[in-house]
Amino acid sequence: MTTLHPAASRATDAVAGSPRRAGTGTTATRILGIATIVSMCWLVAFGLGFSPADRDQEEAVRLLYVHVPTIWLAYLAFVVTAVSSAMYLWRRSLGWDRLAGASAELGVVFMAVTLVVGALWGRLTWGVFWQWDARLTTTALLFVTYIGYLAVRNLGGSHAQRATRSAVLGLLAVLEIPLVHFSVQLWRSLHQGRTFEPNDTNMDGLMLFSLFVGVIAFTLLYTWLIIHRTRAMAMEDMIDDRGLDDALAARRAEAAAVPGADEEAH
């Protein structure tokens, strides 16, 4: 038996129907997934049910239990993106690049949720959807920045090209954020008094616990999804590579078929 070229053997695998193959899940992620769902249910029960209304904010305080965890998740995701970008530039391993990309995608999704829920909450407690304070404005600009980051990831080129470009951009975003935050803060503090403090709530034990449940639930969710997403991205890259193998084989066959070839073609 001659050993087949890996590309060739994979190509035949692909043709042989679609057998039930292992997905992106493993025992660990399944446990993680169940833990996420359970803690999400807890979050709903505590957030909407057990926790008391606030003295000042009354029932509106219940938004805190989903709003803060989504912000936390989004910022966690962007920190991971920044760190993985730096790690990629240091180590040049595509795994870091995919982690950065998957994390940015999660961050953008949850940043969008954060902005919408934040606006609703603002309407309830401040009476307006939007306040030009540093936190909100930075968050909005961060959101747009990472949409740009994801756009650059999709520009094409080889995996290494994509990885270097996006890693550099991921680090530039880190440069950008403090500047934006500081400038908005300076602007608002010079022109009017302190804006609303979103967290001017007196938290009792049960409220703190509900918030804690929320943060745990969303951290579990992040971990769970990032593992699946990174694995899916790895497979996307593999499919690209396999596409190249197939295209290469096709082109070589084309060369062999051209007449006038001497012994070298065979």
């Binding site: 290494a160 690209d240 060369a255």
Partner: protein
Amino acid sequence: MSSAATDPAPVVELDDAVAVLGSFPALAGATLRVQRREILLLQGPNGAGKTTLLRLCAGLLPVARGRAAVLGWDLAHHRREVRPHVGLLGHANGLYLDLSVGDNVRFWGSTVGASGAEITEAMALLAVDGRLGGLKVRSLSAGQKRRTALACLVARRAQLWLLDEPHAGLDAAGRDELDRTLRAAAAAGATIVVASHELERAGALATRTVEVVAGQVREP
């Protein structure tokens, strides 16, 4: 490849090199040796990968598979180091159309530190001095643009010249001039790789010819 044994360090060394455009392997495992002072002609149909081969050697494309070395630099790691020693004349001339011929040659020459005398000499060699030197490139004919681009190449004193259809758009006198320039450059120690459809013209010039077919190099 009998000459390969005599000279230990070929200028271009490709071993099963693959280069990808988008997701298409334009170069699908090319193996090629080019020795110093050779004038190598690449022939082959459109889409065979001649341009990609030249761009790979210029360090403009990453090596997707296989090995490629130019002037002793491994292109997998030292694409940037190679570039200053290589001159590429592609389909585009790489000129600033709103600048004059002289400004272009001076700019490209200066980026590698060529002296004023060398730049003047390069312009004289390609006959783009005098009245032509003051004209905007945009107003030139295709052949004149080509000559200007070659003058930039001469001014840059590249060790490896990679030329993609250099005869295109040149009149008979321009072609003679080009051939003379290339022979002189090779005699002075440069190595030249030419991709051309004009086999008679380029064949007479070349010291060796290989065929590029479907992304691979075939020795005759």
